[in-house]
């Protein structure tokens, strides 16, 4: 009887800790996407990065501890046309030989109310690091956590598209970066 009580107490403690403090850690690479949108001669274009890695830990109850680090393999870009794919890894654009990755490292996450949050952090592209903030929504679906966000960068801030390409009337300066991350929850150890 005593041991049964202990089991019940222990398991209820486990369950409650699981319910109140779930940390979303394991990024599901095959379900997550990083895409981007831009305008070219007024024409909306969409592209994506096929390869990226993400290390994150997110517990809505402990935002102060939330962390995210995303590294994007720039050579895995798909701009929507082969001609452009060859072009954008070159020196005037990403110079992917010298700077193969773009990286985001979070510095903080704050709640915006409801399921909305905002991550701030450092975005490094082509050797240049700038502060960015990205609003996102978070939805927990059982043990699956869905993060969806979009933020805009100006490509010229990172010298993406130099020389003749610096003309923003052809390829717009604003690039919308969209991320959709699927994370699996792991119970908090502490």
């Amino acid at each position: 009887m005593k041991s049964l009580l202990r089991v019940v107490l222990l398991s209820s403690a486990l369950i409650s800790s699981f319910a109140s403090a779930v940390e979303f850690k394991q990024v599901q690479a095959n379900e997550s996407t990083v895409t981007f949108g831009y305008k070219q001669m007024g024409v909306p274009m969409e592209g994506k990065f096929a390869k990226f890695t993400a290390q994150t830990s997110f517990d809505p109850a402990k935002l102060a501890k939330a962390q995210a680090r995303i590294d994007i393999d720039l050579a895995s870009i798909d701009t929507g046309s082969e001609e452009a794919n060859d072009e954008v890894v070159g020196k005037p654009w990403f110079n992917a030989k010298a700077f193969p990755n773009a990286g985001f490292v979070s510095t903080g996450v704050k709640a915006l109310g409801g399921n909305r949050y905002e991550a701030t952090g450092k975005l490094t592209i082509k050797g240049k690091t700038l502060d960015v903030s990205a609003p996102f929504t978070f939805q927990a679906n059982g043990t699956r956590g869905l993060f969806d966000g979009v933020f805009t960068i100006k490509r010229l801030d990172y010298n993406i598209g130099e020389g003749v390409w610096a003309d923003v009337s052809t390829v717009a300066n604003e690039i919308q970066i969209k991320f959709h991350l699927v994370l699996i929850a792991a119970p908090n150890k502490k």
Partner: protein, 182 residues
Amino acid sequence: MNSSILRYNNTAMALHWLVALLIFAAFPLGVYMHDLPLSPTKLQYYSYHKWIGITILLLVITRVVWRFTHTPPPLPASTPRWEVVVSHITHLALYGLLLAIPLSGWLMSSAKGFQTVWFGVLPLPDLVEKNKELGQLLATVHQGLNVFLFLLVGMHIAAVIKHKFIDHDQILERMLPKGMSK
């Protein structure tokens, strides 16, 4: 004598010469831009080409409507039967090509994943989805139709020269404003 020439009306003349001018811009631009290395200039030329093409499509639709609602001035009574037949076929084919060529370009652009945005302002719907094979097929169709257009415009101009300098009739004057012909 001059006043007796039955001319196309101003609307028909304006449409004819405007479309002619635009073809003489879009056609060489299309040939030239195709082999350019990727650059902002190339992207601009492609956009200009598409904008002109869609403009031609709209003007030619207007021309077809005009043609259905008006009777063109008659050919000289002396025109041989074979010339009447050939000229009807040529004009019919020209109208068809001037509708089919911009349309195939619009579809090709969609299939290749580039929406057409007229003058960078008015987005046209993508009537087909992005599809590499379809894009290549439509590129071939677009080029092939343009070869026909080149030949037919050549015939059209050759016929004008023949009528003007060999037959000495007033076929050309039907499409020229009053002040311009002697």
